[in-house]
């Protein structure tokens, strides 16, 4: 591969290549998702209905007055209804995303294979800390030698794909609506239930 002059002066110039490739992949994947999902009208209507239902639910929950015991029962019923419709819409949304998810996954696997063949057994970066456990396994995958601060392509690619993809989605407004149940990585505890 032809390497520009300034790149070859770095010992770990491979790390920049990994980052550049994953930036391109992230943009490409978002483009695919845009074509298959985000520009369609059914996605837009589904998303707006989820947003609306989530907001409605929120206002209903915050409006709840503990002194009005008589109206509490009907309110709970109403909240339940909105919650069920919200869940249904979220389910539809995830089904909808499944289609493009498969294509994106395929692209990611191909790129990963390409990177693997390019940087197999190479130290692409130096870690400024000593990793432990699963991080150590990932960062030292396929590398020779005992130096635990050597970083393989796998770990760097993992970091790139998560940080770049998440921020790109957020920037373009493609991240899943907050109201959708189970959209986040961790379920949010509801303080109102306690």
């Amino acid at each position: 591969m032809a390497t520009p002059q300034f790149l070859s002066s770095f010992k770990y110039s491979d790390s920049l290549k990994v980052v550049a490739i994953s930036v391109c992949t992230a943009i490409f994947c978002e483009a695919i998702s845009w074509v298959l999902i985000y520009r369609t009208n059914s996605y837009k209507s589904l998303k707006s209905s989820i947003d609306k239902a989530a907001k409605k639910l929120e206002t209903m929950k915050t409006d709840q007055n503990p002194n009005k015991l008589s109206t509490k029962k009907s309110k709970t019923k109403k909240i339940d209804r909105v919650e069920t419709s919200l869940k249904e819409s979220s389910r539809d949304l995830s089904l909808f995303k499944f289609k493009s998810g498969a294509v994106v996954a395929l692209v990611l696997i191909v790129v990963f294979g390409l990177l693997n063949s390019l940087f197999e057994g190479k130290v692409v970066a130096k870690l400024p800390f000593k990793p432990i456990g699963i991080v150590m396994k990932m960062s030292h995958r396929g590398l020779q030698g005992e130096d635990s601060t050597d970083c393989s392509m796998v770990f760097l690619y993992f970091l790139c794909s998560i940080s770049i993809r998440t921020n790109l989605q957020k920037f373009l407004g493609f991240s899943p609506p907050r109201g959708a149940a189970g959209a986040g990585l961790f379920p949010m505890p509801d303080p109102k239930t306690s």
């Binding site: 770095f10 010992k11 770990y12 920049l16 206002t59 970066a125 998560i162 986040g184 949010m188």
Partner: protein, 126 residues
């Protein structure tokens, strides 16, 4: 009643486009009314900026050792907490509690921080 009105207004703004008319003065205004999405986005981007800044700084100095990951986490969480509790003075219960607010953009910021730190450290000091 007042609250529903403001929520409606915000949702209308949001439908107009992702970047709803946004004033930077609002970022420091304790009187401003926030909607959950907007506040989440602002906290997310603050976290990313802090992560990028800390990552570049840690890499440029350079500092080594896992302890600096925890120092970054403490700084970033402290800034987020200080921002919404002291500058905006919002009631966290309205937005799903401390856990929800402090968790906003956390994972993305950790990976961004590690990426910046590792890259600068590897490129500048070897």
């Amino acid at each position: 009643m007042k609250e529903t009105k403001s929520v409606k207004l915000n949702s209308q703004q949001h439908e107009n486009g992702h970047f709803s008319p946004f004033k930077f003065a609002k970022l420091l205004d304790p009187e401003a009314s926030w909607d959950k999405d907007q506040l989440g986005d602002v906290l997310h981007w603050i976290r990313q900026v802090v992560a990028l800044f800390c990552g570049l700084l840690w890499g440029a100095i350079p500092v080594v050792g896992s302890i600096w990951i925890f120092i970054f986490l403490a700084i970033s969480t402290g800034i987020i907490y200080g921002y919404y509790a002291m500058i905006l003075k919002i009631d966290e219960e309205e937005f799903g509690g401390h856990a929800a607010l402090l968790q906003e953009g956390l994972f993305a910021s950790i990976t961004l921080f590690l990426l910046a730190w590792i890259l600068v450290y590897s490129l500048a000091h070897f």
